[in-house]
């Protein structure tokens, strides 16, 4: 099967810098995978998202070497707005990814589908669906500027979901959410995953990554440190030294269990029971 994302010896360097922010990276992500991306600040996590969606180099400039293709076509050969028909990116800052031109929450969500030229009936159907998934129905008539940080983040996600992307890139999607908001977001992602959406999620909360993502990649200084199942990746010393340790693994280590350390709640309960 053609991978959704295929990178071969991909390297990217921002303009006016003297080192690669990313790479060399070899990576293949197949349809329907849910991949967590972890690593310290400046490890290249956001850059990875920009390279996959094509903003790097199309928007930033700089230099991309090696091969990067998404849905089988090289990112260099297709404008970013063209790729938006199949792939979406949720940015870190929920405020700046609003269009800044719409005065109601539902109109903001309609922005993407309208840009895609969808018929009005379908736009409305998608907007309703996206608002329902993100729990924003009651706020649909509000002005986006009147929303709280958490609500803005849900709005940014709704705006993306209304475009029904087959590939969803999320850069720290829970950063503004309270625990209830995070749980709701993860429920949405579980639903999308079950429906076959490919998800790549940058997340600092390692417990969440360990609990939900069947596959984790750890980045360090722009390179792939590890790529595999959470239980394997989070037990690598070089990953623990840079990306850190999920809370349950930390607690298990504290009382002398492992290695291998349990990385999820369930496996920790089991390991510590013995």
């Amino acid at each position: 099967m053609t991978p959704v994302i295929a990178m071969a010896a991909a390297r990217y360097r921002y303009p006016e810098t003297d080192h690669d922010a990313l790479g060399p990276v070899d990576l293949a992500i197949g349809p329907g995978e849910w991949v967590g991306v972890v690593g310290p600040t400046n490890a290249g996590k956001s850059t990875l998202c920009y390279v996959i969606i094509g903003l790097a180099p199309q928007f930033f400039g700089g230099r991309l070497r090696g091969e990067v293709s998404v849905f089988g076509s090289p990112t260099a050969s297709q404008p970013v707005n063209e790729r938006s028909r199949r792939a979406g990116l949720l940015f870190q800052n929920p405020f700046t990814q609003l269009s800044g031109a719409r005065e109601r929450v539902d109109e903001e969500v309609a922005f993407g589908p309208e840009a895609h030229g969808l018929p009005q009936a379908e736009v409305e159907e998608r907007v309703a669906e996206a608002l329902r998934l993100t729990g924003l129905q009651d706020l649909r008539a509000r002005h986006p500027l009147d929303l709280s940080g958490g609500q803005l983040q849900r709005l940014a996600l709704a705006a993306l979901l209304a475009m029904r992307p087959e590939l969803l890139l999320l850069d720290e999607p829970t950063s503004q959410l309270d625990p209830a908001g995070s749980r709701a977001l993860f429920d949405v992602l579980r639903g999308l995953h079950a429906a076959g959406t490919t998800i790549v999620m940058v997340e600092h909360r390692l417990e969440a990554v360990a609990a939900m993502c069947p596959r984790v990649i750890a980045l360090g200084e722009g390179r792939l440190l590890a790529d595999g199942a959470p239980a394997e990746v989070f037990n690598r010393p070089e990953v623990q030294a840079s990306a850190g340790i999920p809370a349950f693994a930390r607690l298990a280590a504290l009382v002398g269990k492992g290695p291998p350390l349990p990385v999820t709640f369930e496996s920790a309960v089991e390991a510590l029971r013995g």
Binding site: E82, G88, T96, G100, G117, D146
Partner: protein, 259 residues
């Protein structure tokens, strides 16, 4: 924490329901007439018409509130400066030591103030009764490119957005010890720490927003479909042409010296 974010005031008056282009024409023509018509009764007539429209739209109080702060100082200033110093001044009506208030200058100053009042009233009439989105939509349905439509819509949002950011910046800098109230020199010193973050964050936001727009498919060549229908009518079309003709007629009359 709901707050007024654009000047638009929700309403259901005929003016609210009128086509944005009708209101835009009305506003531009009122401004045109105010500056073309030569004598104060006519200029005042334009103002009275605008005030009745503001009243009909249910936004008269709101207008008076905003306008008082703006127009009273302007009127006083114009009347004072013109009546004291206009070169056409001849007839003294109130001697003030070495200076004197003159009838001619007072008339010129008050007429200028009246014209500015018409301009402000016309502008507010439009802003109070027209949703910016409707204006952009109406223009796009008449062939304006979506990119340009976006520019209009986002430009109209820049002020409320900046006000919001400016509030947060002021809070942050005051919490760091910056006095933003009090005598002028103190407030002047506060200018840079308040302004620079606004400029810098606007630059950063613009870049990020441009990226996000790409990712949301902005600028794709798609046959753009009308988002919603903005009702227009024959009556409104006639009114628009009529208003435009009135301005042209007034201009012609003025140039011919008939007015």
């Amino acid at each position: 924490m709901a707050r007024g974010l654009s000047l638009y005031a929700e309403g259901s008056s005929p003016l609210h329901r009128a086509h944005p282009l009708t209101k835009a024409t009305l506003t531009l023509c009122a401004i045109g007439l105010a500056f073309i018509l030569p004598s104060w009764p006519l200029v005042l007539g334009v103002g009275v018409a605008l005030l009745s429209l503001l009243a009909a739209a249910g936004v008269l109080r709101r207008f008076l509130f905003v306008a008082a702060g703006l127009l009273v100082p302007i009127t006083l200033l114009l009347a004072l400066v013109q009546s004291l110093a206009n070169p056409h001044n001849q007839t003294v009506i109130l001697p003030l030591g070495p200076l004197a208030v003159h009838r001619e200058g007072l008339y010129i100053g008050l007429l200028a103030a009246l014209r500015i009042a018409d301009l402000v009233a016309a502008t507010f009439l439009f802003s109070f009764t027209t949703r910016p989105a409707d204006l952009a939509e109406a223009l796009m349905q008449r062939g304006l490119s979506p990119r340009f439509g976006y520019v209009i819509q986002s430009a109209l949002q820049i002020i409320p957005q900046s006000l919001e950011t400016a509030d947060r910046i002021r809070d942050a800098q005051r919490a760091r010890g910056l006095e933003t109230e009090g005598p002028l020199p103190r407030r002047a010193r506060a200018f840079i720490p308040l302004l620079l973050p606004l400029v810098l964050s606007a630059l950063v936001a613009t870049q990020e927003r441009a990226m996000a727009l790409e990712v949301r498919g902005f600028g794709l060549k798609v046959g753009r479909l009308a988002r919603y229908r903005i009702p227009d009518s024959l009556g409104q079309r006639v009114l628009r042409w009529g208003l435009a003709l009135a301005v042209v007629a007034a201009l012609a009359a003025r140039l011919r010296g008939w007015l």
